[in-house]
Amino acid sequence: MALSAEESGRLAGLLTSHDDQVTQRWTEIVTGSLRGRLSQAELRRQVQELHRAIVTVSEQGDLDLESERAAELRAVLAELSQGRARQGFSATETAVSVFALKEVLLELLDAEQNPTALRDYVAFSSLIDEMGLFTFESFVRTRESLIADQAEQLLELSTPVVKLWEGVVAVPLVGTLDSARAQVVMERLLQTLVDTGSPYAIIDITGVPAVDTQVAQHILKTVVAARLMGADCIISGIRPQIAQTIVALGIEFGDIATKASLADALRHVLRLTGVETSRRASRREA
């Protein structure tokens, strides 16, 4: 809903003639709704900025939030909602900052006793609704980009490859192993095998809540790829309920060594590499 030139002129007049009163009352209402989680000074600054943007655009004739001329107003609204989204405010708390203007305008129009007051209020109201919806949309967009960023960070974070011993690396898998993560895990593991020259890799699935055929297939592929590079893989962290599920599903791990715990897997590798026997031998000598 756009405002006609006269309407937006009256809006500009109303906002400028009661400049301080408007920002004062507006800030008050917003402060109340946010329960002191933003400083008064910060809120006042935001409200003044919005106030200025609305006045600037409404002084230039008919006001349409979608128009070229309202670009600055949109930018101010977008900045406001981005700030709120990043500071962890809810969508309602963000939109209320805009909707509060309605209450302020109603009080002003009430005091003026103008014959066109009701029609003006309805027109201003629908403009403010539109502004509110715009903040809502910017808010959601910001939140969505935050979530996407976090999902990406999680993908990076959750797949470390750690060196357990000389020649032994381990991948502790945590959470759901979907195709994207499986790909990251495989790449990391194979790269680490090359970088460290390790002949053994332990894939620990203690943190994987359910092993279905897709997860099993991803693990099997990783093991085969590691084998092609000359490394041997051991799967550890197979809990009783996972073991029973794997049997019932009919998944076969073939000749791949599997162990109940990471400690068992490490002991198994150390035995294969002869670390333990050499240690015993040295103790006997001493």
């Binding site: 759901t176 029973q244 599903l249 009919g250």
Partner: protein
């Protein structure tokens, strides 16, 4: 098959992406814990749900799942219904054979899921979609 008496409102969830498969797993786990299935049975049911939800997504082209708590008078259980309106399964016996796959998987999803639950019912016809109903009873 006996479906048992339904207790409470069944919970529905759409399956249209990989994230939805994760949501189905979480939903099933929550209901399985509420019905007090043992840890092994929880894991089996969640795994079966994961297989069937992925089948609904990959072969059925997406669909819906409905999770409900049921009671047959002696035991409580969890009933899950997966429904899609996809191409259906032309040869059910072949699809239920271990190792048979048309999608590059291990070919154990459908047959494995049948072994993981107590009751398994599948209704399908070419071009009429597929509905799979499974129940896991508490011990």
């Amino acid at each position: 098959m006996t479906t048992g008496l339904e207790l409470g409102q069944p919970q529905a969830q759409a399956i249209h992406s990989d994230e939805d498969v994760v949501r189905v797993r979480q939903l099933v786990r929550t209901v399985a814990v509420a019905v007090k299935l043992s840890l092994v049975d929880q894991t089996k049911l969640v795994t079966a749900a994961s297989e069937l939800a992925r089948n609904t997504l990959v072969y059925g082209g997406g669909g819906t799942v409905e999770v409900a708590t049921v009671d047959n008078g002696r035991r409580r259980g969890v009933r899950i219904i997966f429904a899609d309106t996809g191409p259906g399964i032309p040869d059910l016996d072949l699809a239920l054979t271990d190792g048979y796959t048309t999608g590059g998987g291990l070919g154990l999803g459908l047959s494995g899921a049948r072994r993981l639950v107590d009751e398994f019912d599948i209704r399908t016809a070419p071009d009429a979609g597929t509905t799979v109903t499974v129940i896991k009873w508490s011990r």
